[in-house]
């Protein structure tokens, strides 16, 4: 009676463990969402910038925070569908929370298009220009919409990658409102 080829069990099990580990690593990497990767700025102090809004007014983040207001920075553009989805929610939130300073930051877009869009859809707060992309880079923005919530002490308490609705905004805005300088 033939006994067949000898199976080298330790080698087989070792090989399976190595291959299984590699597959798990690859699987884990494929499953990683880019938007989940970039929350590096959360918990860090704000980064100062100055810019001008669509009306030509100069805005310094440092000065806004020095006035005692927490800040919401929303990076958006007219070519971004999710930005349009959240636009109404941000307008409503800005009216509901006058103690919070809202600023839009135009991301890789034409100011004229953005002005037209805001003229038709409403602008409850200023939008800042960022022609060189410096503000976006300073805040680690990789796409839009991305929103930063900066409390009165100047700490970035949350960075949201993706569109937001009122249900998401309210708890964070309450947190900003309750924050201390």
């Amino acid at each position: 009676m033939s006994s067949g080829p000898k199976v080298r069990w330790p080698l087989l099990i070792g090989g399976l463990v190595v291959i299984g580990g590699m597959m798990a690593l690859l699987g884990g990497s494929f499953g990683r969402q880019v938007k989940e990767l970039s929350t590096e700025m959360e918990g860090k102090p704000y980064r100062q910038f100055t810019s001008v809004d669509f009306d030509g007014n100069e805005v310094s983040l440092e000065q806004v925070l020095a006035s005692g207001k927490p800040v919401v920075l929303n990076f958006w553009s007219t070519w971004c569908g999710p930005c349009k989805f959240e636009h109404d929610h941000f307008q409503q939130a800005a009216r509901m929370y006058p103690e919070v300073a809202f600023y839009g930051v135009l991301y890789q877009d034409d100011v004229r298009k953005a002005k037209r869009y805001l003229a038709s859809k409403g602008a409850a707060y200023p939008t800042l220009t960022d022609d060189s992309g410096s503000i976006a880079i300073t805040y680690g923005v990789g796409g839009v919409p991305e929103t930063f919530f900066i409390d009165r002490s100047g700490t970035i308490i949350h960075k949201e990658n993706g569109p937001m609705h009122m249900g998401m905004l309210q708890p964070l805005l309450n947190q900003l409102k309750a924050s201390q300088p």
Binding site: L25, K44, F49, G133, G140
Partner: protein, 182 residues
Amino acid sequence: MTAFLLILATALGAGTREYVPVDAETIARAEIPGVPPGPPPPADQVDAIAHEISDKLRCPVCQGLSVADSNASTAVNMANHVRALVAKGYTEDDIREFFITTYGQWIVLDPEPEGLDLLIWLGPGLAAGLGLAWAVATVAQWRREPDDELPSERGDAPLDPYEQQLLAQLDAEIESDPSGGT
């Protein structure tokens, strides 16, 4: 044909973006925490230093391209930002640290050997070491194993009936032809 050549030229040119001078506004707005540790490098070296740094940064909106190799607006802005920082006197370490603390470790194409990324550095060496150990162990095992021979030839088992039959046939053939067939 013209369209094909145009597409081909565009594709081939994708990795060789021509730098445009960084405008004063970009330089003025490029800030990272802290002050530059020293004077800026000579103006004619800024582009080369910046390119070297950008080449190690991942374009956040591309697939497997460095900031230096991509034509995406985000990458162009980042490359300009890097050049502005170099022109201000920030070192490669400062700029690298700025991008890591802003975007995360994934923004660099050569991540620090720590955490899961440690596998990238240790993996190949570990795999080569394991392979070598396995090869050495296998060769050593071959050397320990005696040559293939019948159990009866090793003297540790009696001939089975089939072996006995073969042996008898062989003996009979030898006896019937003592010359060995020559």
